[in-house]
Symmetry: C2
Subunit: 548 residues, 2 copies
Amino acid sequence: MKKTARSRTRSAKPAKKSRKAKPRMRPLKAKAPSVKGGRNLHSVQDRLHELKRRLLVISDLGSAGAVLGWDEATYMPKGGAVARGRQSATLSRIRHERSVDLGLGALIDSLVPHAKSLPPDSDDAALIRVAHRDYQKAIKVPAEWVERVSRHGSASYDAWIRARPANDFATMRPFLEKTIELSREYAGFFAPYDRILDPLIDDSDEGMTTASIQKLFKELRRELVPIVRAIADQPLADDGCLRGAFGENAQLSFSLDVASRLGYDLDRGRLDKTHHPFCTKFGGGDVRITTRVREDDLGDALFSTVHEAGHAMYEQGVSRALDGTPLGSGVSAGVHESQSRLWENVVGRGRAFWEHFFPALQRLFPDQFSGVALDTFYRAINKVERSLIRTDADEVTYNLHVMLRFDLELDLLEGRLAVKDIPDAWRARMKSDLGVAPPDDRDGCLQDVHWYGGGLGGGFQGYTLGNILSAQFYAAATKANPAIPSELAAGEFRTLHGWLTDNLYRHGRKFTPNNLIERATGEPMTMRPYLAYLRNKYGELYRLPAAA
Amino acid sequence: MKKTARSRTRSAKPAKKSRKAKPRMRPLKAKAPSVKGGRNLHSVQDRLHELKRRLLVISDLGSAGAVLGWDEATYMPKGGAVARGRQSATLSRIRHERSVDLGLGALIDSLVPHAKSLPPDSDDAALIRVAHRDYQKAIKVPAEWVERVSRHGSASYDAWIRARPANDFATMRPFLEKTIELSREYAGFFAPYDRILDPLIDDSDEGMTTASIQKLFKELRRELVPIVRAIADQPLADDGCLRGAFGENAQLSFSLDVASRLGYDLDRGRLDKTHHPFCTKFGGGDVRITTRVREDDLGDALFSTVHEAGHAMYEQGVSRALDGTPLGSGVSAGVHESQSRLWENVVGRGRAFWEHFFPALQRLFPDQFSGVALDTFYRAINKVERSLIRTDADEVTYNLHVMLRFDLELDLLEGRLAVKDIPDAWRARMKSDLGVAPPDDRDGCLQDVHWYGGGLGGGFQGYTLGNILSAQFYAAATKANPAIPSELAAGEFRTLHGWLTDNLYRHGRKFTPNNLIERATGEPMTMRPYLAYLRNKYGELYRLPAAA
């Protein structure tokens, strides 16, 4: 499972989004500012200082929780599980108490008017804006709802762990029905809204709505389905060279070497093995990635590592001045995913990249690759296939998997689809979009953990937004620095990494996602570069007609 | 450096003992019990439940801090250090706030009378007693003192890191002078006392005093000095077989295999490499150990691992019913150290143990050991030597190093010794007790971190108490189960481990150290078994006259 850096503490089990509880009372709109240790904080500077102090404690508690999550996924002995669950919950609860503290709310409210007098691009103005947004969201969600969703999510996840291998959708039905009720309740805390998914989308992709995503997805689907059909008429690429016997240590050291060459700073990071790859951040000086290794499949560890390194380079690149504040991380699921996809797909599955790295791979695994041509290898790592499992899908078909889930979520939440009808709806849509249908629910509607950990809605669109944005950002970087493609072929990544750092990474959450995209690329989010990228790359690989 | 499991979060830097701050006001002695969420907690059961809930949060925060400390010492990239220090401090501060909370104090006070009506051996009676003791100690120490000692300790430690290699005692003088002032202040919070060291000793070894330790040490020293002199007149044992080229992975897997055979449960533990070996606990299901490895010296990793596994088996053996309460850990520094010493020295450096394990070691390192006799190896691992460094000392001379430090601490705190005179006093005492004197301060009074991390006093006696108790416990176990020595020679440790679990480990902090010793061995702490052990073992090894 690919995860964004924002879902830090996930191991196998998805985090409970950023839905937070509110105290019993709404904070008073304080004219007189908050107090600390009995002293009135009269000056704006004192209040800003106190705000940062409080936010730093909240950040520290989040980072401590992330360390516990990383340890749980990497090295914790199995006997530690029960206490670890409780310890993580204790940290979350204390963090939450601090996040909805009445004094914090009063402090933020007293600073909002001041923010208007600051330059809008200043760090302090952004800090007040983001702290205000986070606080207002947090206090809308009752603590008792958080408790309920947490208990339900654990029970649902535990049931799913057994139900998926047993192909037992019936067991999951009542869980899913309750999950949908909880998601509807959650949306209700943010009423009024246009569409019920809007508040859920806003949690991870601020500025996007059901309507704007539907518009994008409709356009993308219109282009993708014919491409997939045209490719499907051709024989499959031969990816046999990726199957064989690849030693674990050799895979890990090659993968980490590649990540480091791309710009992942090992003085501020490390790579470990986990069941599911992820990226996690404990501060700008410590951003870690994990991968899994299959000794019979070269692609898994390598591309997972590059994917997570993309997330990690984003987090490592956030200005250190924003560290420990709510501005000190990536801005949205979509923008975050754009960086994992840019490095994994646009760069890491590109021909130029392998012009440089393939000889090293051949030296590392001579038995496998000494007789293999670069072109054969390049086709193997870009094989397009109509497949059942989203996480194994190639970059062309991947988006169709995402859209299927997004549309079903909307139908479920808006009452057009009943839980009992999910398996049929899933098969029908797979058949129409991808031309294959799962023989069972295990590899159909039971495959993703997202719906079975207590949350449904708003968790998938970021993957496709990321694909779209990866091409838009890469095009802008290349327009500003036309030498980038030839630099990639020479194993030189500093110009690209530098452009991304300057235009995206360093800003953290300082600008809204839409603002950031427009500042970096000169225009709002657009599908054009992504479609051009797909048509060029796969048109050439599969000799598609120019019209496709 | 060998550390007890109680000093959990230490890496290189010593923890700041268990000196805690007090709130501005003393808690009111509440007749009406504490409240939770607005409800009065009328029944004793409700109040006990609430007490356990609050103590569990404090325990969880401590465990989370311990995970951060373990990660810092094992896998944290260097860029993570600054944020990690702050995150650990944040967790400590919040844990401390909860530990001195006025409501907690009122709750405990309201339960103290109830404890008198419970069977004195019941878990609940012990819980109330220990919670009361911990709370009363915590609130006596002002928060501002904790802040001062923490800042001073960091500055002193940073200076020492440079001063020791530079042999620069002069730089450390003003730091030490301030450290002594802070220790005197700390003792003052617990006035009146008989001797200034008493409150500091009580923190780690409840029930011991300056007077009782001086009495023990005087007796031990009278016996040890002649033994050391008699051994010194003989040629040194040849320990050349321990020097060579021992692969790191082979050493680690052999060491861990030995630890596991002794009874260290790997489903609830693991072994990693650190600069200094230690043991740390995140709950009864997760007790980890670390070691260091020198490829040119077999003894370091092996005996460090067995030593830390001794601490870990103690912690793993605490009854799970006490998990997450203040009763759920080892009872004192001395009793804890007795378990590391029992397994490392009494068992792990014993002839019977190696009758079983030496053939396996020979198979693992045939180049080193195929021609070496068991007796040669046994003499090598028990070589007695007049040496300068405490942590490298053998089990005979080790106690002399400890007594030197204990006596100097007492002289410093009671004003009979000035800081400037430490180097001379150190050399004089080394000369008289061990017959060697350090050529410089680096390997003299600058060698131990203990004095240079902000705390002086009460940190050393536990090592020698542990040596004394290790023999007392082993003698009691063997008296109850005379087959134990022959079982050790057969690689069978369950009887010994079982006796220790039943008589020591499972009780955690339920009984005072002195109570526990008497329950387990039928008598108060006594030197007799330890002196008999040393005379037997080293009398035979070095053919000492029976009188020595």
